[in-house]
Amino acid sequence: MVKFVLQDRVHRVEGADPGMTVLDYLRERLARTGTKEGCAAGDCGACTVVVASLAHPETDGAEPGLRYHAINSCITPLGSLQGKQLITVEDLQQGDALHPVQQCMVDQHGSQCGFCTPGFVMSMFAHRKTAQSADRNAICDALGGNLCRCTGYRPIIDAATAMFEGSTQDQFTHTEPHTLALLAQLTIDEPENTPGYDQPASVDQLAAILEQHPQATLVAGGTDLYLQVTQSLQRFDHLVDISDVAELSTVRQEGDILDIGAAAPYSDIRAPLVANFPSLGELLDRLGSLQIRNRGTIGGNIANASPIADMPPALIALGATMRLRCGENTRDVMLEDFYTAYRRTILQPGEFIERIRIPLLAAEESLWTYKLSKRWEDDISATCAAIYLRLEDGIVADTRIAFGGMAEIPRRAPASENALIGTSWNEANVRIAAEKLTEDFHPISDFRASADYRLSASQNLLLRCYLESSNAGTPIRMHLHA
């Protein structure tokens, strides 16, 4: 039975499928209709709720206490709330008194039709709980997954700025010891698995379950998988939820390898990734929205095998490997060998991705990543480029150039790479290599971009890489936060 904390009490889910979405559970079972459905696909944020969980200082290096995450309740399985606290918009107001975050929205005229408002309020609440001070860019990062069709956002930004003027103290601060005790108790209690919904506590358990039930469906963040539930109206008979397998969420440095658990959500791995590969910062900030990054995992991104996933190009360019596990057996493979055809991988039934291992860069090595999409925030790539370079005395000693969105799988550009290797890193040679991309890729035209744009812009991304690497003066590129 799924148990989580709701309103200072342990809430037991009875007679509901743990695989149903948190949103449906709230609206249909608990009559908590303050949380809205705008899209049921993670795109609008109207369904945003906040999940508070125990920090794990040993694994995630966080301060002990509660961590607050905004998530999209529309694509989150109810079962994943096990052992956590769920906070919805109804929990913020106390009697007649609005929560300071709500009051700021009222004062700044932050709502018009009001349909997006509960979602914004929850994202703002989580941001207030995690950020130290008001910063416009940080506010936009925190609210980039909440769409408002009415206001044009200016008053919402003002409200999110104003909320930092008041005290951080609120009812949740006051009840924190109580909440921590409840959550600690829930963690000690063995979760009682509901048939059809497994929540293994360790990798060994996970391996055993999958070996026994190779047809079961893995769910990590569910940010890809649950679109099949809400959009294709599919039902999964047997879900194995790996979002709470602590070992799968760790990040550690082993010599010159950064070793990441497959079920680590983006929010948790941003810091170590960016510390080692600065260019991944903006890529990660543009991957989905904060709600998506709070749930979505790097392993899910890889396993989902979408040609437009944003992590594979960078990981391929970096020469990352993966540890796959089936039962007791493990095997290490290069990520670039993982994909076999459109949405197909070498994963065998019962096998899963356990870890992703990325070689760190030496001084003469560098990584450049670029994502092109119609909208800066929360959009899928038309093309996504990742370029690894090893320059020795101005000569390209080695390079790996990988693209997403350009073929049926994320993959490298051998002709372009070969044209560069051994040549001087200069504009003329880069232009030759860019020309070679026409041999490497024959992209498709679809609603995101035409084949022409995909190819031509990708060629220019190589050029941008050269200009960025060689030109310290005039800015030649815009950033997420212009």
Partner: protein, 781 residues
């Protein structure tokens, strides 16, 4: 009533909540707390079932076989509704027929996603699953989604129409310079955050209680009654608020309300029908895409001599409101410019797409945009800054340059001075110089700047819609209940009308409760559209308030022997000579003396008239004016861009509520910018909408709002017409200010030719389009 309520609710003291105050939205507290109820939040009867709609999977053809047996057998299914089941009308075309509610075997499919049947089941998911199980065989026929092709083939949903003045052809031929051009703009999905939804509960008398997220409850009522084959008085439609409308719930809420009502009638229980987001994208109309061709003659200074313009709107498969929408595009083909000779023709092209419909601006933006594209090209041709050419062409009182091509006189020339003001406050010329310098230094990134004006005509061009009703009750505790025919979709209409009533009685706004719009409270209402909400309903409410006030004043005269001039309403009190009564006290006194405390109010817009046969008249009561300056930065390697700064000045007359007006301006501007930048509708070869969700159709996100965003309400500019407290409409006009962003993008691209050529940039100017425009500009220069 035996005992009157205690009067402790009375708080004499200055009533602050009046017209012109920056009051919060009346439901702001409910919004932020999650307590505001939308249709899907209303508790439903225990027996309520859920509806879903089965849709066509081809764009054009005949249904050979429609087998619903798998649908009927699907788990949880309780009722299936087909065309044959409908007891009353089967066509719900709002103005002209052409919108079949459902299709049956033999029926002709006209767009991908057309409703074929409906189903009711125990849960939402079961209903939706069942709706996908129909076995349909089609006989495909060729479909067309291209406006130009449709126009060539003369596939029209309504006849073309022309407005003309003088001999445009001759004027163009006599002009020193001429230009011929084409321009196209894409459609726009409303993407209201709350999708289409309706809850229908059968009543004891074979009638229907309908809760519908609609901008037009009266039309919903009429159509539900007609499809059920019952009189209108058996149907009540209620809507307390919508989670956004933008025109998308003016006529396109009807189908779902009708289907829910029919399912409820058939199943004999309550039905809720809420479209999933993809079905909403696919099954409801959007802003019309347009293709425009123009020939313009002008002199060496860019002064227009004559224009011939053919505006072709892609209407989708049926007329819906397209006649009026294309008319409005034509009415705005002048934007703010005097066209000495003009021939403006509007075509309503039929395409195999969902029927396009009202969207904020109602065709006006499309007409204006085409003209702004034309002005840009004229400016580059004569080598002048586009602002200068715009200013030269403005309407003015001099030389008789003050009447539109449809014969309405521009009585008040607000745009020239408003633009002058904005040029100053935005430092247009200083920044122009700085940007040119920047662009010379910067090889890859380029900045662009543009100022565009917008003059928007206010009134429904369908004359009879320019009327409204309101209903006010005062209860014996002095609390006031307010109701009117306008609907609340976020625009703050309820707040503004409440302010009007608070002002009339000089009481606090807290004393006034805004109640849900219901067809049994105020009947025969017009849609809340055409920016007319507060103009019409504010006046109607004021009328009702004045009627009650007059009764109260008369009563004071009779009761106290006071002269009418001795009775006044001040600060939550009623003063009769030297005597002061709290508002509630006075109301109780009136009640005890058997004075009616309830009244309906009514308003019709004066002075407007238009003869479509001669294409002339005064269709608009007045114009709302504004202008925007947008600055953008583009990356010429990739076409990516950012809006860096926006400055807006909008003429809202004497604002009823500046905070709400600014909200409309900012929101409208960003929505307009979205239409012209990232919001791209793409259909496949098969006629299927490919950008069918928020994942693939990108409306502006928070980071698209410029970091530097300055909005000013034009000061000291009361409406000269006798509108409600001399305010002006503000709902639609600011959307058109988004054109400045598109123009600024073009300006940045034009820098690649050292501003000699204008960018080949259609709308929406997605990064890909900007990239292509840069590439072709570089190839030519």
């Amino acid at each position: 009533m035996r005992n009157l309520p205690a009067q402790n609710a009375n708080t004499p003291g200055q009533a602050t909540s009046k017209v012109g105050a920056e009051l919060q939205h009346e439901a702001a507290t409910l919004h932020v707390s999650g307590a505001a109820r939308y249709i899907d939040d209303i508790p439903v009867p225990a027996s309520c079932l859920h509806g879903a709609v089965g849709m066509s999977t081809i764009a054009s053809g005949r249904i050979k076989r429609l087998d619903l047996s798998r649908v009927r057998q699907s788990p949880g299914v309780q009722a299936v509704l087909t065309l044959q089941d409908i007891p009353g009308h089967r066509d719900i075309g709002p103005v002209f027929p052409g919108d079949p509610l459902l299709l049956d075997e033999g029926g002709v499919v006209q767009f991908h996603g057309q409703a074929l049947f409906a189903v009711a089941a125990d849960t939402v998911t079961e209903a939706r699953q069942a709706a996908r199980l129909a076995e349909v065989e089609y006989e495909n026929t060729e479909s067309n989604l291209d406006i130009r092709h449709g126009l060539q083939e003369e596939q029209l949903v309504r006849p073309s129409h022309t407005q003309s003045r003088g001999n445009a052809k001759a004027a163009i031929e006599a002009s020193p310079r001429r230009l011929h051009g084409e321009f196209s703009s894409g459609g726009q999905e409303h993407m209201y955050l709350e999708g289409q939804v309706s809850l229908c509960i059968p009543t004891e008398d074979n009638g229907m209680m309908v809760y519908s997220s609609t901008q037009h409850p009266s039309e919903g009522q009429k159509l539900v009654a007609e499809v059920l084959g019952i009189p209108l008085h058996r149907v009540t439609v209620e809507v307390r608020r919508m989670g956004g409308g933008f025109g998308g719930k003016e006529t396109h809420a009807n189908q779902w309300a009708c289907l829910a009502a029919l399912l409820a009638w058939k199943a004999g229980c309550a039905i809720k029908l809420r479209l999933g987001r993809v079905d909403d994208f696919v099954g409801t109309g959007k802003r019309h895409p347009f293709h425009t061709e123009f020939t313009v003659g002008f002199d060496d200074s860019g002064l227009i001599q004559g224009v011939e313009m053919d505006l072709a709107g892609g209407c989708g498969y049926s007329p819906d409101l397209s006649d009026a929408i294309v008319d409005r595009a034509m009415f705005h083909a002048d934007n703010a410019y005097y066209l000495p000779a003009a021939r403006i023709t509007g075509h309503r092209v039929k395409t195999n797409a969902v029927s396009n419909t009202a969207f904020r601006g109602f065709g006006g933006p499309q007409g204006m945009l085409a003209t702004e594209a034309m002005i840009e090209r004229i400016a580059r041709a004569v080598g002048e800054d586009s602002l200068t050419v715009r200013q030269r062409n403005f309407y003015s009182a001099e030389d008789g340059r003050d009447s539109t091509h449809y014969g309405q006189k521009i009585e008040q020339h607000i745009i020239p001075s408003l633009v002058e003001r904005l040029v100053g406050t935005s430092d247009y010329w200083g920044r122009r110089a700085e940007i040119q310098e920047y662009n010379r230094q910067s090889p890859v990134l380029k900045r662009g700047l543009a100022l565009t004006p917008a003059k928007f005509g206010i009134s429904f061009t369908v004359q009879h819609l320019n009327q409204a009703g309101a209903l006010i009750h005062i209860y014996t505790d002095g609390s006031i209940q307010l109701n009117h025919g306008g609907t609340e979709m976020g625009q703050g209409l309820y707040t503004k009308v409440a302010q009007v009533v608070a002002h009339a009685f000089q009481v606090d706004i807290e004393r006034i409760a805004c109640t849900a719009t219901r067809t049994d409270k105020v009947p025969n209402t017009s849609p809340t559209a055409a920016s007319s909400g507060s103009d019409l309903n504010g006046m109607a409410a004021l009328d009702a308030a004045e009627i009650i006030k007059k009764r109260l004043v008369d009563f004071a005269g009779n009761h106290f022997g006071a002269e009418p001039g001795d009775v006044c309403f001040i600060d939550n009190q009623v003063h009769v000579g030297q005597e002061r009564y709290s508002f509630a006290e006075f109301i109780q006194l009136a009640y005890m003396n058997r004075i009616s405390l309830s009244a309906t109010g009514y308003y019709r817009t004066p002075e407007i008239h238009y003869n479509r046969d001669t294409a002339s008249g005064r269709p608009f009561f007045y114009f709302a004016n504004g202008a925007a300056v947008a600055e953008v930065l583009i990356d010429t390697l990739t076409g990516e861009y950012r809006m860096i700064r926006a400055d807006i000045c909008q003429d809202v007359g004497e604002s009823l509520n500046p905070a709400i007006d600014i909200g409309q301006i900012e929101g409208g501007f960003i929505q307009g910018a979205g239409w012209l930048t990232t919001e791209e509708l793409v259909w496949g070869e098969d006629g299927r909408l490919q950008t069918n969700s928020a994942a693939s159709y990108k409306i502006p996100a928070i980071g698209d709002t410029p970091g530097d965003f300055r909005v000013e309400l034009l000061p000291d500019s009361p409406n000269r017409e006798a509108t409600i407290f001399h305010s002006k409409a503000v709902g639609e006009p600011p959307l058109m200010l988004g054109i400045a962003v598109w123009s600024a993008l073009g300006d940045a691209v034009a820098s690649l030719s050292d501003y000699r050529e204008s960018a080949q940039l259609n709308a929406p100017a997605t990064p890909e389009q900007v990239f292509m425009a840069c590439r072709s500009m570089r190839e030519r220069n």
